[in-house]
């Protein structure tokens, strides 16, 4: 039986890249320390700041919520939770209940934006009406709502649960598609642009996907185990991720050395998008053209762009729950 390298108790995991075995208690501390270190190293969160945590209910966002609610007491920042109910039948109902339960335990303010209430239909119907894949529609809607909520409540940053495997997968995908300006956005922190785009932070930037799952299973935190019924299984992302796991197993530490070199070289990539952003002529939030993708999407599905209406809806929602 392998023993914990720190206390000698029964180990539950060997951290190959760190060359140590850890028990449940020290594994938990190890992961929390990784997040604490990323927050310091990449200057993600300042004392007294208002941080909006985007929580879907999946393992990564639940790990983010659990860890940041602990660290908020130490770093002295104010976390708020945002859950977007995507209107995907039973899957969304389960996700919403789990998020409510976990948030109640950590006692944080919770904002729920219900897409069906806001737009009169859920993601599957929006996808059908717009003729776009569900994942693409879901991405547009989620990104818009996260940004709009953060702007309306004047949050200092939106924190998402992207882990290191997600980031490396996105980098490789963008490289394969030669979308070089997309690569430069895959950093731990993207600063705000005036009042049109909120700052985005990724506190789990150096945490492996396996580590977020292990962290919440060890700590017995509830999370959504079901897969999204709208998600496709054989995507380029999934294939790339599988290869990344195999690479890490054969060459422990390769993910870390890759991401560190990537961040050292980030300025060498062309920032083609810089200066290209503008205000959406309809809603006033970030856009790469005259109308933002959310206003274009809703124009297609509802006959009129709903960005301004959505911002007003969010303002009223925040007022109702006393967070405006």
């Amino acid at each position: 039986m392998a023993k914990c390298s720190i206390c000698g108790r029964k180990a539950i995991e060997k951290i190959e890249y760190a060359r140590k075995y850890l028990c449940s208690k020290h594994y938990t501390e190890f992961i929390e320390e990784k997040v604490r270190r990323s927050i310091r190293r990449y200057r993600l969160i300042k004392k007294g700041s208002k941080i909006l945590l985007a929580v879907s209910g999946g393992k990564d966002s639940i790990a983010l919520l659990t860890i940041l609610s602990k660290l908020s007491k130490e770093i002295h920042f104010k976390p708020y939770v945002l859950h977007i109910d995507l209107g995907i039948g039973k899957y969304s109902a389960i996700s919403r209940e789990i998020v409510k339960k976990v948030v109640q335990k950590v006692d944080l303010p919770l904002i729920i934006v219900e897409i069906k209430d806001l737009l009169g239909m859920g993601i599957p119907e929006l996808a059908k009406k717009s003729g776009r894949p569900s994942c693409s529609v879901c991405g547009i809607v989620k990104r818009y709502i996260m940004n709009a909520v953060a702007i309306e409540m004047k949050a200092d940053a939106i924190a998402t649960g992207h882990n290191l495997d997600d980031i490396i997968t996105f980098i490789l995908k963008e490289f394969l598609q030669q979308n070089l300006d997309g690569i430069t956005k895959l950093v731990p922190r993207i600063d705000n642009i005036d009042e049109i785009a909120a700052t985005k932070i990724r506190p789990l930037y150096e945490v492996f996907e396996r580590e977020t799952l292990l962290y919440i299973l060890i700590n017995k935190v509830e999370f959504v185990k079901e897969e999204c019924p709208e998600a496709r299984t054989s995507t380029l992302n999934n294939v790339l991720k599988n290869h990344i796991y195999i690479l890490e197993e054969k060459f422990p530490g390769i993910k870390y050395s890759f991401i560190r070199s990537f961040l050292r070289n980030i300025d060498k990539y062309p920032k083609l998008y810089e200066g290209k952003f503008m205000k959406c002529s309809i809603c006033g939030l970030i856009s790469s053209s005259i109308k933002c993708s959310y206003c274009r999407l809703t124009e297609k599905t509802h006959g009129e762009p709903l960005g301004m209406y959505t911002r007003e809806y969010i303002r009223r929602l925040l007022e109702r729950i006393g967070l405006s």
């Binding site: 392998a2 995991e13 060997k14 449940s24 396996r210 799952l213 299973l217 185990k225 999204c228 796991y245």
Partner: protein, 73 residues
């Protein structure tokens, strides 16, 4: 003599036939990784609600939950 494996999130049930009276978790992981064309670290194993390590032993009739790390959600 077998171990019952429940794969999460698809709730697929697999019976792993034992050659002797026990088997190490590592063997089960090797079997799954080979079957699904992935790596050992793509799974986390739990028994009776507790995470177990690769060197833990499993016995005839036991049931384990194997979580796939990567999820599409």
């Amino acid at each position: 003599m077998a171990i019952k494996i429940i794969i999460i999130p698809d709730n697929k049930v697999i019976r792993y036939e034992l050659r002797g009276s026990k088997v190490k978790v590592l063997k089960i992981l090797e079997f799954l990784a080979k079957t699904e064309g992935t790596s050992l670290s793509a799974y986390v194993v739990m028994r009776k609600g507790e995470v177990i390590a690769r060197d833990d032993e499993l016995f005839d009739g036991e049931e384990i939950e194997v979580y796939r790390v990567a999820s599409g959600g």
